[in-house]
């Protein structure tokens, strides 16, 4: 069962990607240096994976509450490029009767049709983590 609505980020432009990387003290030049990116075969800067994780978690937060995310496990499948909008789609896959936690499958799509990440999120609708 797909949970609605999916969360869509703002447009991840160069400024936002650079700001996120700076906030995280992320030294990876792939997030800000176009020349470096071209040298490794990328068309330009890519978003830090942390942006994808934050966006995926937020999809669950909007549905289940701000302190509901107990666990997230996300595998990155493709880079997120400057100008992409991420759409995070959740599907409920199970529920644990003993503690009320809910298992969600998460898929992150960039720019409408590019599969970027997938994984699972476990939420506790009662909040306050584990």
């Amino acid at each position: 069962m797909t949970e609605t609505p999916p969360f869509r980020t703002v447009v991840l432009d160069r400024e936002r990607i650079a700001h996120f990387a700076e906030a995280m003290h992320d030294p990876n030049p792939m997030h800000r240096d176009p020349d470096f990116c071209r040298s490794v075969g990328l068309p330009g800067p890519i978003a830090p994976g942390g942006m994808v994780v934050v966006a995926a978690c937020h999809a669950a937060v909007r549905v289940h509450g701000i302190e509901s995310v107990r666990e997230v496990d996300l595998s990155m499948r493709a880079p997120v490029h400057v100008g992409d909008v991420l759409e995070c789609r959740l599907t409920r896959t199970g529920e644990q009767p003993h503690d009320g936690s809910i298992a969600l499958e998460v898929v992150v799509i960039a720019d409408g049709d590019r599969f970027c990440a997938e994984g699972t999120i476990v939420v506790d609708p009662k909040g306050a983590c584990a």
Binding site: V10, H19, F20, E22, A23, H25, P27, R62, V69, R70
Partner: protein, 150 residues
């Protein structure tokens, strides 16, 4: 390049979770929950201050320098973070002072054509008042030509 060894401590840290970091994360991704923006709204919802969004903590934001890259065998021209797993035990808020420790938790290798792919998992614990608050597991995949891995 150094071959990463399981158990290597990459660093320890103590850090105050600052409002500026949380706001920048909110703005860059476009989070749309008012508790993330206004401390008064957050307090009115029962939080001591603005909650730190899940996923907003990354170990390298807190390590004192970048020497962990060499010790973990990671080079940005051939390494990618391919998996991130987080376990939250205690909600964290702006103003919390966390202590942390990052270690190499797992190293695996496999051959792919003429190259070897080394996957290095970096495990980080975050503690609040001595209590385990969060665990983070980040896996990097690094491509080597065969002669670089001893």
């Amino acid at each position: 390049m150094t071959k990463p060894l399981v158990g290597t401590v990459l660093g320890e840290f103590q850090a105050c979770l600052e409002r500026a970091l949380t706001w920048r994360v909110d703005w860059t991704v476009g989070l749309d929950v008012p508790e993330y923006l206004d401390p008064e709204v957050a307090r009115s919802m029962g939080h001591p201050d603005i909650p730190v969004p899940p996923g907003a903590l990354v170990f390298f934001a807190f390590l004192p320098d970048q020497s962990w890259l060499e010790r973990a065998g990671i080079a940005y021209d051939r390494s990618l973070a391919v998996r991130r797993r987080l376990i939250n035990h205690v909600p964290l808020h702006v103003g919390d002072v966390v202590t942390g420790r990052s270690v190499i938790g797992e190293v695996t290798e496999k051959r792919s054509g003429t190259a070897r792919i080394v996957k290095t998992r970096i495990d980080t614990t975050y503690r609040l008042h001595g209590e385990l608050a969060a665990e983070e597991f980040v896996t990097y995949s690094t491509r080597h030509v065969a002669k670089e891995v001893a």
